[in-house]
Subunit: 591 residues, 2 copies
């Protein structure tokens, strides 16, 4: 049910509907939109601060420009809620029954006013440069204005800089709005932000200016939350014949005081009570994150020279606790995954043991650094990867690829713990050894307790949790519990006493155990929480390829899953215990 049938926003079907509104009406619209953002995010979770701060920008954009003939590209696009409300998707914010119809990011399949699926930062300027260059090449007079909106936080990502460098080569219209709210997800990191602060302090008059240095035209707007100012700004540059940067100063969280006071906490929230600011669902009492941080602090107490490095998302790893306890050993490099890895390699050469924290989906930005800096130098850094998993979240942040692109690299040991005790045991070993880079895939599932069976991972030795026969189940990391369930059902339903193996590593094989498996097993089954293509299952399939052993591999197919509930996904992917047992039965019966 539409909670606000009285709202002016109900009159807005298309952006052109706001073009005839008075300034008072537009201001009222802004108020309504802020209420709706808060209602939706506090109910189902999402991005709050970034969207509250950008309401006037979105209204002004659609008031002045003609979408979708003119094109706007929202960087990261988690700040596109106001844009969505003005482009035919208001019900996704007014009616809780329709909240889930609308994704948290721009989505061309939702609307003609969105041009790309975007969920990672720092891409908007490069996309806009491409749009502008293509328009000029085609001598296409239609798309007169190409607008990119990029936050100050996103500027720290190298791709943004690469794109600004190319923006000045564009010969026609290109409007880049730098939305400076003085924040990244967390505090901004690095010297760049001194320069931006100086520009704000001088209202854009400082001659030392990153943007003009790179040959770009530039204007500064102090109050990016003032609607008349923003409308005038866009009118001034509409149809401009060259690239220009509009540096606007906005207030992250505007309209909801807790989000202004605690910008990090309210950047992105799970569902919460707007009155108290408390999560609606209490966080788990124990987490892998807590165990990892506790172990690192204990290692430091024992005299180990450790540093913790992350790229702008300490909340994803519980690193705020580490930072509080060991501020000198905490490094946030900004939204700069490449630098997080290569800087760690520098540290490791100098005798510090860096523990680099990465989110699977963002680690994709660091592949060359993993290959050329880490693997080639066999640099003994330690890396913890979270959210490497099949999940129900947005396809923009899919974490199913990491096993494929890491396990194929030389020298790196990629370990997959099944439990919190094993996670800590592997982390300790990784820190104490000096020989190889170690990546640890933190389970993305409910915390599991089971003891580690070794403290030494110098050579990978599979854990045989149960010795059976005929069928050997290899359950990787976070899918351990699924492996146990399959084992139980095989016994119960088919009277097969399957062997259950924890393979410990997704890179290095335990050749001895594998060599002897065929003596008592005809079928080997791999179960992994990631892509089948290039995954662990294929490694095992290749190993047994020349033998009589049959291999069945379970995992995710080569596809993007966009906000599909996890139980539906598992069902589609044949990842329920029943489905796996059925598939095994089919193969066993062909004997």
């Amino acid at each position: 049910m539409n909670l606000h049938p009285d709202y002016l926003l109900n009159r807005v079907e298309e952006p052109e509907d706001i073009k005839t509104m008075s300034m008072d009406q537009l201001e009222q619209l802004a108020e309504e939109m802020r209420t709706l953002i808060l209602e939706r995010v506090s109910t189902i979770g999402g991005h709050l601060g970034p969207d509250l701060g950008i309401v006037e920008l979105a209204i002004a954009y659609h008031y002045v420009f003609n979408s979708p003939t003119d094109k706007v590209i929202w960087d990261v696009s988690h700040n596109s809620y106001p844009h969505k409300m003005l482009t035919g998707r208001k019900l996704g914010f007014m009616d809780p029954d329709h909240y889930q119809d609308i994704s948290g990011f721009t989505a061309p399949d939702e609307s003609d006013h969105d041009f790309f699926k975007i969920g990672h930062t720092s891409t908007s300027v490069a996309l806009a440069v491409g749009e502008a260059e293509a328009r000029d090449l085609k001598q296409d007079p239609k798309h007169r204005n190409i607008v990119a909106v990029i936050g100050d936080g996103s500027l720290s990502g190298g791709l943004a800089f690469e794109a600004f460098n190319n923006a000045s080569k564009v010969k026609g219209n290109l409007i880049i709005v730098v939305n400076d709210n003085e924040m990244s997800i967390d505090d901004n990191q690095g010297g760049l932000y001194q320069g931006l602060a100086e520009l704000r302090a001088t209202e854009g008059k400082s001659p030392n200016n990153l943007f003009t240095f790179m040959g770009l035209d530039y204007r500064y707007i102090e109050d990016g939350n003032d609607l008349p100012t923003m409308i005038q700004m866009f009118k001034d540059v509409q149809d401009i014949d060259h690239p220009i940067v509009l540096h606007i100063h906005t207030l992250k969280g505007k309209g909801y005081q807790p989000a202004i006071d605690e910008k990090f906490k309210y950047h992105w929230r799970k569902a919460f009570d707007p009155a108290t600011g408390e999560d609606r669902q209490a966080p788990a009492q124990e987490s892998y994150n807590q165990a990892v941080v506790k172990e690192l602090l204990a290692e430091i107490d024992e005299g180990h020279e450790i540093a913790a490095i992350n790229a702008a998302i300490p909340g994803a790893f519980g690193l705020k606790d580490f930072q509080a306890a060991q501020p000198d050993r905490y490094f946030d490099v900004g939204i700069a995954e490449q630098a997080s890895i290569t800087t760690a390699v520098g540290m490791a050469e100098a005798g510090i043991r860096p523990v680099v924290f990465e989110n699977s989906t963002f680690l994709q930005r660091g592949l060359d650094q993993l290959i050329h800096d880490v693997a080639l130098n066999s640099s003994p850094i330690v890396m913890v990867v979270v959210n490497g998993s099949i999940s129900s979240q947005s396809a923009t942040h899919q974490g199913t690829f990491d096993i494929s692109y890491i396990s194929s690299l030389p020298n790196i040991e990629y370990l997959a713990p099944t439990s919190v005790e094993e996670m800590v045991s592997m982390l300790r070993w990784a820190i104490h050894q000096q020989d190889v880079p170690v990546v640890i895939r933190q389970p993305a599932h409910e915390l599991l307790h089971r003891p580690a069976t070794t403290n030494d991972y110098d050579e990978v030795k599979y854990e045989i949790a149960h010795q059976g026969q005929d069928v050997a189940l290899m359950a990787v990391g976070g899918f351990w519990k699924l492996g146990e369930q399959v084992q139980a059902q095989l016994k119960e339903k088919l009277n097969i006493d399957a062997t259950l193996i924890n393979p410990i590593s997704v890179t290095n094989l335990d050749y001895e155990t594998l060599h002897h498996l065929p003596e008592q097993h005809d079928v080997v089954v791999t179960i992994e929480d990631g892509n089948l293509s290039g995954g662990f299952g294929e490694t095992i399939a290749r190993y047994f390829g020349p033998t009589n052993v049959k291999v069945l591999s379970f995992g995710a197919p080569r596809e993007f899953a966009d906000a599909v509930p996890l139980d539906v996904l598992y069902n589609q992917y044949h990842l329920t215990p029943q489905q796996i047992v059925d598939d095994i039965q089919r193969v066993v019966h062909t004997f």
Copy 2:
């Protein structure tokens, strides 16, 4: 034999040996070193212009600082020849019998004065930041000076910017030398270079300064090839207690006029005659590059809206010819692989068909852009990948990983042509279709002529080049000829009439053909020019995992191969026809 027993350089065993030399002697050393660079490169190939320009810098560094207690990190490190001559490796430049002892890049296994294996650009500042932060964390007074030397061309790579942003957070010593020779590999690209030009024009006095904008101290030195000036510069900043940028202006190619006049041509050369500038070995009459460029130009003539994009290495793709014919449709984004891909996605959205040219080893920098921008958006860009191959070149540039990290991605079609005709046929189809991103792996082998058997790759349909039985050989792309050789030897030596299949694609399978293969075949053999781990062979091994068909996969193991001759590598990897036949025989005999 040492060609120059009379050289002063013979007296230099360690850097400290130059500390007692007079300025005249140091100048003489510089002259000698330039002669040696030219001799080595013209004889065995290598980097010329960058090393000729940096001789004084290297001498001054080692004259002032104490290596290896003080540490210098050479960006890309193809400019480390002078450094190598002064750190115990002079014979690698004086004695042709020892040329091959010394790699073209820094190598810790060669010398304690090298700290990292480096061959890709833009990493030095991040590595140096890590070194400096680690020194300060450990309160280690030994490594007082950490020096990074980065060229102006390398500044266009996003990682360099990410690292500069973090450099200003370093609290102790950090010296970043920006070696500005006004060139990248080709001409510099982008607005950044306007800013640098203005700094050169004002001798560093312009208030608009990227480096001070980011909070870094800064000095400009106009003549970076003047030895006394360079020595004084380093003396001035020795043991400085904070980060500083030394922006020095040098002459690329100094000392060899052709390299000054034609900086692109002489950046990196195969062996050549220094008198005439001609290659010692005439280039091939026909190349894949030429065929690709010819096809693109023909498509443009037919009215297709094409652009060609590359990241600073047009020479690797023969794109100079394209640029000359279609300057408006030619885009060089600088050393910025991320931007090359994301900008292409922007172009494709606007209706231009971008053809992105990438070198396998550098494409690693674009994985997130391939996943998040290309695959997720199913953006119909076309990409040509060169040097995806097992090769005898430096491990820093190993091209064996691309199948692993591309073929596991959704939506992308990764095609592997076997011949020039097939390459062109695939390229034409890729340009004409509108649905999916298409990547084409250009064979890295001698040009092969064989007709394409189809012009339609909408659905992958394997080419059965020869129908036999018992054994099916699937030879991928550049290894087609090897597949033919194996087929011939199987017939000749084992009287096995093997089926020979061209699988066309390394991503999408021809399920129908695969489904029927077991009817007449017991063994399937895959042969691919890349990593086994995550490669095509594993895809096939997984497909046949649950069946009675045996699969043997041939390719490269998970390792780096550093300048090992190709025949030796093939032998190690079981990639000679004889070895493959022997391995097949072993499996066939177990029936």
